[in-house]
Protein backbone atom coordinates (compact mmCIF):
# COMPACT_ATOMS: atom_id res chain seq x y z
CA UNK A 1 0.00 0.00 0.00
CA UNK A 2 1.30 3.45 -0.76
CA UNK A 3 0.26 6.96 0.03
CA UNK A 4 -3.31 6.15 1.04
CA UNK A 5 -4.71 9.03 3.04
CA UNK A 6 -8.01 9.90 4.60
CA UNK A 7 -10.53 9.93 1.80
CA UNK A 8 -11.49 13.27 0.40
CA UNK A 9 -15.14 14.13 0.70
CA UNK A 10 -15.58 16.25 -2.39
CA UNK A 11 -15.72 15.39 -6.04
CA UNK A 12 -13.40 16.97 -8.54
CA UNK A 13 -13.16 17.21 -12.29
CA UNK A 14 -9.45 16.36 -12.06
CA UNK A 15 -10.44 12.69 -11.94
CA UNK A 16 -11.59 12.08 -15.49
CA UNK A 17 -14.63 9.99 -16.32
CA UNK A 18 -14.17 7.01 -18.65
CA UNK A 19 -15.39 9.11 -21.58
CA UNK A 20 -13.11 12.02 -20.69
CA UNK A 21 -10.23 9.62 -20.20
CA UNK A 22 -10.77 8.14 -23.66
CA UNK A 23 -10.84 11.58 -25.27
CA UNK A 24 -7.67 12.50 -23.39
CA UNK A 25 -5.92 9.32 -24.53
CA UNK A 26 -7.10 9.79 -28.09
CA UNK A 27 -5.66 13.30 -28.21
CA UNK A 28 -2.37 12.14 -26.69
CA UNK A 29 -2.11 9.23 -29.13
CA UNK A 30 -2.73 11.49 -32.10
CA UNK A 31 -0.13 14.00 -30.91
CA UNK A 32 2.57 11.49 -30.02
CA UNK A 33 1.98 8.43 -32.22
CA UNK A 34 -0.02 9.99 -35.05
CA UNK A 35 -2.90 7.54 -34.63
CA UNK A 36 -6.09 7.51 -32.61
CA UNK A 37 -6.63 5.68 -29.35
CA UNK A 38 -8.29 2.66 -31.00
CA UNK A 39 -5.34 2.08 -33.30
CA UNK A 40 -2.77 2.69 -30.59
CA UNK A 41 -4.48 0.15 -28.37
CA UNK A 42 -4.52 -2.34 -31.27
CA UNK A 43 -0.78 -1.82 -31.72
CA UNK A 44 -0.14 -2.50 -28.04
CA UNK A 45 -2.25 -5.66 -28.21
CA UNK A 46 -0.42 -6.77 -31.37
CA UNK A 47 2.92 -6.42 -29.58
CA UNK A 48 4.16 -3.66 -31.86
CA UNK A 49 5.85 -1.94 -28.91
CA UNK A 50 7.24 -5.01 -27.17
CA UNK A 51 10.71 -4.28 -28.54
CA UNK A 52 10.52 -0.52 -28.26
CA UNK A 53 13.85 0.64 -26.79
CA UNK A 54 13.60 1.79 -23.22
CA UNK A 55 15.58 5.02 -23.52
CA UNK A 56 15.07 8.77 -23.54
CA UNK A 57 14.66 8.93 -27.32
CA UNK A 58 11.48 6.86 -27.04
CA UNK A 59 10.24 8.42 -23.81
CA UNK A 60 7.13 9.98 -25.35
CA UNK A 61 5.88 6.65 -26.69
CA UNK A 62 6.76 4.93 -23.42
CA UNK A 63 4.75 7.53 -21.51
CA UNK A 64 1.85 6.95 -23.87
CA UNK A 65 1.99 3.20 -23.27
CA UNK A 66 1.95 3.84 -19.52
CA UNK A 67 -1.16 6.01 -19.90
CA UNK A 68 -2.93 3.28 -21.89
CA UNK A 69 -1.90 0.34 -19.74
CA UNK A 70 -1.11 1.76 -16.32
CA UNK A 71 2.01 -0.37 -16.44
CA UNK A 72 -0.02 -3.58 -16.43
Amino acid sequence: MVRAKTAATHETSAVLSPEESWRFLDAQARAIAGVGAEEFLRRIDRGDYDDLPDDLDHAATRRLILLFTGGR
Binding site: M1, V2, R3, A4, K5, T6, A7, A8, T9, H10, E11, T12, A14, V15, L16, S17, P18, S21, W22, F24, L25, A27, Q28, A31, I32, A37, L41, I44, G47, Y49, D50, D51, L52, P53, D54, D55, L56, D57, A59, A60, R62, R63, I65, L66, L67, F68, T69, G70, G71, R72
Partner: protein, 177 residues
Amino acid sequence: MAVSRSRRNAVEAFRLTLQQTVACVTPETLLVVQTPRNPDVLTATFPFQARGLVVLRGDQGEPRLRCSVDHSFLLDPAVVVHSTGYAYHLYDLGGTELLGYHWHPQGAGARPEAHLHVRATIGDAKLSRLHLPTGRVALEAFVRLMITEFGIAPLQADWRRLLDTAERAFVAARTWA
Protein backbone atom coordinates in the same frame (compact mmCIF):
# COMPACT_ATOMS: atom_id res chain seq x y z
CA MET B 1 -19.58 2.16 -15.53
CA ALA B 2 -20.77 3.43 -12.18
CA VAL B 3 -18.01 4.21 -9.72
CA SER B 4 -18.76 4.14 -6.02
CA ARG B 5 -18.25 7.25 -3.95
CA SER B 6 -15.68 5.52 -1.74
CA ARG B 7 -13.60 4.54 -4.76
CA ARG B 8 -13.82 8.03 -6.23
CA ASN B 9 -12.77 9.48 -2.91
CA ALA B 10 -9.82 7.12 -2.63
CA VAL B 11 -8.64 8.06 -6.11
CA GLU B 12 -9.03 11.76 -5.38
CA ALA B 13 -7.23 11.41 -2.05
CA PHE B 14 -4.30 9.76 -3.80
CA ARG B 15 -4.33 12.40 -6.50
CA LEU B 16 -4.22 15.10 -3.84
CA THR B 17 -1.11 13.65 -2.21
CA LEU B 18 0.66 13.82 -5.59
CA GLN B 19 -0.80 17.27 -6.30
CA GLN B 20 0.52 18.70 -3.03
CA THR B 21 3.97 17.52 -4.03
CA VAL B 22 4.04 18.90 -7.57
CA ALA B 23 2.48 22.15 -6.30
CA CYS B 24 5.94 22.93 -4.88
CA VAL B 25 7.12 23.66 -8.45
CA THR B 26 4.08 24.12 -10.69
CA PRO B 27 0.53 25.44 -10.45
CA GLU B 28 -0.65 22.86 -12.99
CA THR B 29 -3.33 20.39 -11.95
CA LEU B 30 -2.60 16.68 -12.12
CA LEU B 31 -5.38 14.78 -13.84
CA VAL B 32 -6.26 11.15 -13.22
CA VAL B 33 -6.90 9.19 -16.40
CA GLN B 34 -8.56 5.78 -16.49
CA THR B 35 -6.99 3.06 -18.63
CA PRO B 36 -9.31 1.81 -21.39
CA ARG B 37 -9.38 -1.85 -20.34
CA ASN B 38 -9.48 -1.64 -16.56
CA PRO B 39 -11.29 1.14 -14.68
CA ASP B 40 -9.35 0.29 -11.53
CA VAL B 41 -6.01 1.07 -13.16
CA LEU B 42 -5.38 4.78 -13.49
CA THR B 43 -2.58 7.24 -14.18
CA ALA B 44 -1.98 10.68 -12.74
CA THR B 45 -0.55 12.98 -15.39
CA PHE B 46 -0.52 16.62 -16.42
CA PRO B 47 -3.04 18.05 -18.90
CA PHE B 48 -2.67 17.49 -22.58
CA GLN B 49 -1.20 20.85 -23.57
CA ALA B 50 2.34 20.44 -24.91
CA ARG B 51 2.11 16.67 -24.46
CA GLY B 52 1.80 16.96 -20.72
CA LEU B 53 5.07 18.85 -20.31
CA VAL B 54 4.77 21.69 -17.82
CA VAL B 55 7.09 24.68 -17.67
CA LEU B 56 9.28 25.07 -14.59
CA ARG B 57 10.48 28.54 -13.71
CA GLY B 58 13.58 29.98 -12.07
CA ASP B 59 13.88 32.62 -9.35
CA GLN B 60 13.08 35.50 -11.69
CA GLY B 61 10.08 33.74 -13.15
CA GLU B 62 11.99 32.84 -16.29
CA PRO B 63 11.16 29.52 -17.98
CA ARG B 64 14.01 27.16 -17.21
CA LEU B 65 12.99 23.55 -17.81
CA ARG B 66 9.97 21.36 -18.45
CA CYS B 67 8.87 18.24 -16.65
CA SER B 68 6.33 15.46 -16.98
CA VAL B 69 4.92 13.26 -14.25
CA ASP B 70 3.11 10.01 -14.98
CA HIS B 71 2.25 7.82 -12.02
CA SER B 72 0.10 4.73 -12.54
CA PHE B 73 -1.76 2.95 -9.80
CA LEU B 74 -4.26 0.23 -9.10
CA LEU B 75 -7.23 0.58 -6.80
CA ASP B 76 -7.84 -2.85 -5.29
CA PRO B 77 -11.22 -4.23 -4.15
CA ALA B 78 -10.48 -3.08 -0.60
CA VAL B 79 -10.10 0.47 -1.95
CA VAL B 80 -6.36 0.51 -1.30
CA VAL B 81 -4.02 2.20 -3.77
CA HIS B 82 -1.00 0.31 -5.16
CA SER B 83 1.49 1.98 -7.48
CA THR B 84 2.02 0.07 -10.74
CA GLY B 85 4.52 2.27 -12.55
CA TYR B 86 5.98 5.72 -12.91
CA ALA B 87 7.85 7.92 -15.35
CA TYR B 88 9.22 11.23 -14.14
CA HIS B 89 11.06 13.27 -16.77
CA LEU B 90 12.93 16.55 -17.01
CA TYR B 91 13.26 18.27 -20.39
CA ASP B 92 14.89 21.38 -21.73
CA LEU B 93 12.54 24.10 -22.91
CA GLY B 94 12.58 22.69 -26.42
CA GLY B 95 11.20 19.40 -25.15
CA THR B 96 14.37 17.31 -25.36
CA GLU B 97 14.45 14.73 -22.57
CA LEU B 98 17.33 15.36 -20.17
CA LEU B 99 16.67 12.64 -17.65
CA GLY B 100 13.96 10.19 -16.76
CA TYR B 101 13.23 8.13 -13.67
CA HIS B 102 11.36 4.99 -14.72
CA TRP B 103 9.67 2.05 -13.11
CA HIS B 104 7.58 -0.12 -15.43
CA PRO B 105 7.73 -3.67 -14.13
CA GLN B 106 4.96 -5.15 -16.30
CA GLY B 107 3.59 -4.92 -19.82
CA ALA B 108 5.33 -3.89 -23.04
CA GLY B 109 9.05 -3.39 -22.45
CA ALA B 110 8.76 -4.39 -18.81
CA ARG B 111 11.80 -3.96 -16.61
CA PRO B 112 11.50 -4.93 -12.96
CA GLU B 113 14.15 -2.57 -11.59
CA ALA B 114 13.55 1.13 -11.09
CA HIS B 115 16.13 3.01 -13.12
CA LEU B 116 17.37 6.32 -14.46
CA HIS B 117 18.17 7.46 -17.99
CA VAL B 118 20.37 10.52 -18.47
CA ARG B 119 21.12 12.33 -21.72
CA ALA B 120 24.88 12.23 -21.46
CA THR B 121 27.76 10.17 -22.74
CA ILE B 122 30.74 8.55 -21.07
CA GLY B 123 33.19 7.43 -23.68
CA ASP B 124 31.12 5.45 -26.16
CA ALA B 125 28.30 4.80 -23.70
CA LYS B 126 25.12 6.75 -24.20
CA LEU B 127 23.61 7.00 -20.75
CA SER B 128 20.21 7.79 -22.23
CA ARG B 129 20.09 4.13 -23.33
CA LEU B 130 21.47 2.68 -20.10
CA HIS B 131 19.38 1.72 -17.10
CA LEU B 132 21.12 3.21 -14.10
CA PRO B 133 19.68 1.53 -11.02
CA THR B 134 18.01 3.83 -8.52
CA GLY B 135 15.78 1.90 -6.17
CA ARG B 136 12.32 3.34 -5.89
CA VAL B 137 12.25 7.11 -6.38
CA ALA B 138 9.59 9.09 -4.58
CA LEU B 139 7.89 11.89 -6.47
CA GLU B 140 8.95 14.11 -3.58
CA ALA B 141 12.60 13.33 -4.27
CA PHE B 142 12.14 14.22 -7.93
CA VAL B 143 10.53 17.56 -7.06
CA ARG B 144 13.21 18.29 -4.45
CA LEU B 145 15.84 17.60 -7.11
CA MET B 146 14.29 20.24 -9.36
CA ILE B 147 14.55 22.87 -6.64
CA THR B 148 17.89 22.07 -5.06
CA GLU B 149 19.87 20.99 -8.13
CA PHE B 150 18.23 22.58 -11.16
CA GLY B 151 17.39 26.02 -9.81
CA ILE B 152 13.64 25.75 -10.09
CA ALA B 153 11.92 28.29 -7.87
CA PRO B 154 9.74 26.75 -5.17
CA LEU B 155 6.15 27.94 -5.24
CA GLN B 156 5.50 27.07 -1.60
CA ALA B 157 7.38 28.82 1.20
CA ASP B 158 7.46 25.66 3.30
CA TRP B 159 8.38 23.34 0.44
CA ARG B 160 11.07 21.56 2.47
CA ARG B 161 8.63 20.60 5.19
CA LEU B 162 5.92 19.66 2.69
CA LEU B 163 8.22 17.39 0.71
CA ASP B 164 9.88 15.88 3.77
CA THR B 165 6.54 15.13 5.42
CA ALA B 166 5.05 13.61 2.29
CA GLU B 167 8.13 11.54 1.59
CA ARG B 168 8.23 10.20 5.14
CA ALA B 169 4.60 9.11 4.80
CA PHE B 170 5.38 7.48 1.47
CA VAL B 171 8.42 5.65 2.85
CA ALA B 172 6.44 4.42 5.84
CA ALA B 173 3.66 3.02 3.65
CA ARG B 174 5.55 1.61 0.66
CA THR B 175 5.91 -2.13 0.29
CA TRP B 176 9.20 -2.11 -1.63
CA ALA B 177 12.15 0.19 -1.99
